[in-house]
Amino acid sequence: MEKLSQEQIDKALKILKMPADSKLVTHLNACVHCGLCADSCMYYKSMKEDKFIPARKVELVASLYRRYCTLTGKIAPKLVNARDLDEKMAEEMVDILFGACTLCGRCVKHCSIGVDIAYVVRIGRQMLAAMGLVPATLQATVDAALTTGNNMAIPTEEFVDTIKWMEEELIDEMQDENARIPLDEKDKNILYTLNPREPKFFPLSISAMAKVFYAAKESWTLSSTMYDVTNYGLFNCNDEEAGIIARHLHDEVKILNAKMLVLGECGHGSRANRWEGPNYLGMKYDFDMITVAELINDYIRSGRIKLDKTIIKERVTMHDPCHLVRNGGLLNELRFAVKSAVNDFVEMNPHGNDNFCCGGGGGQLAMSEYNDRRIKIGEIKAEQIRKTGATIVVTPCHNCVDQLMQLNHHYKLNVKIKSIGEIIADALVIEK
């Protein structure tokens, strides 16, 4: 690593020295080094290396805090392990805070004290971002979203072509010339959003949701330019960039005069918009924002769509995306949608708020340099799936879908991975 300049160091330390509220100071002073969080983290569980213990991740940031922000750390650094911010430290931080944490927050719930470990890791990432030390692979994903409006840099013409193709499929399947996938239409109830993996790799999940909208007779539209629900600014932890990306969707709702923003199937994207977006922009949104799972539940509860549970004969399990369930409170909302569509549903163990991350969160899918670790930690999820005996795994997150597909292949699980939209579309009864 190149020598850190004083300017870089100052920028990073400013984050510790000027806390916006009491949360940072609290969590940096709370860990008692009991080590009881070790078994809650899939990195430590899979690889049994001390450096992966959640408390060690907190310690990287806390030791800097002690060195530069506490009297004891300034006068007796050895006593409290107060460390200098130098190249060695920065390298360690990149490897551990970016390369060995999915920001899943599982350890947080299980910490004996209540240290928000994932939050502290994000602060550490913020410091690295301030020093310009975000891994290039992850930064490239953020840059693509900043410059093109979507993290895969899909050209608008290519996207529009895919949507037109899916619309033709929908017309064929519904045998209705009026079946539509509207683009850039104003004054609709819903502006729907996608994970760019959908138009790029899984266009059928777009037509699945279009089918659901068709059945519900929804007034909706997609944007041809600002449809990306993801926000990798949540993971590179450059809040300024995250704010610019969050603004894309906020402004598109205004431009198209939609009543509601519906967050497509993406765990971190839902979090980045629903929970963090207003904070990035420093203002309350004056329109509603819900996840697609909640929308589907509304349709089911109000009778706008009808499902036939007997269509899907296979056993189904669900993977809870961390940012929708543990960090998003949608535990039963997700279950209501899936259980309304299938008869044979089985839970993983553990599940819900205690669920293990798929292993692809925290930007890991974008950082190819950590691929081996990502697949290794995914073994926990693979074994969870295998034990259920299910042949279909549903998850309302396309990043999780991607990671689960790779686990399916690597660990020979022989299962199908589906989004909620797809499983609902499979069970949908179309009334003409």
Partner: protein, 210 residues
Amino acid sequence: MNWYHWIALGALAICALVLFAHFIRLIRLGNPTDYSKKSGSVAKGVAYSSTVAMIDHKESAYLHIPTYFAGMVYHVGTFVSLFLFVFFLINIALEFTLPLWLKWILIAGLSISTLCGFVLFVKRLLVKNMRNLSNLDDYLSNLIVTFFQGMTIGYLLCPCVEAYYYIFVSILLLYMTLGKLKHVVYFFAARYHLGFFYGWRNTWPPKKVK
């Protein structure tokens, strides 16, 4: 009052002031501003976080029952010892004699908690993971607090160690302002923030899986 009583009183005042300053700093820094639309109840989240969440489905507890239990007993012993210290100071004026049965209950209880503290210390020293996670302050804090409980037993058994007892407690109180023992303040703040975060998002109190 003897000179060591005054020293102890001074140490107590300094410790209380410093910890209070930490508390005031937290209050002044305030809550995070959250512009997102709340979907749960912060009050319920904080109430759960500060009570049931401490044992409810917590891996640090149920995967490590002996350590967690030892930690709990150790902390109870610490608070009892602190309470007794304040009582002893007040009792200089009151001159109240503790009933013998109560003395022996306290001695028995504190012996167990002292042992727990010692076991936790040995564990930190011997288990590689723990050793790599620990700094000098971790060992010192553990030792000082364990000795504090031991000294309390000693003083209950034999008032002749009074001067040593008060001097040692003074050292503990002053040390408390420097290192991890400050978590007596930050523990509660951490539970609050966690309850706030999960309560806001409707994760806590946890719902039954339907």
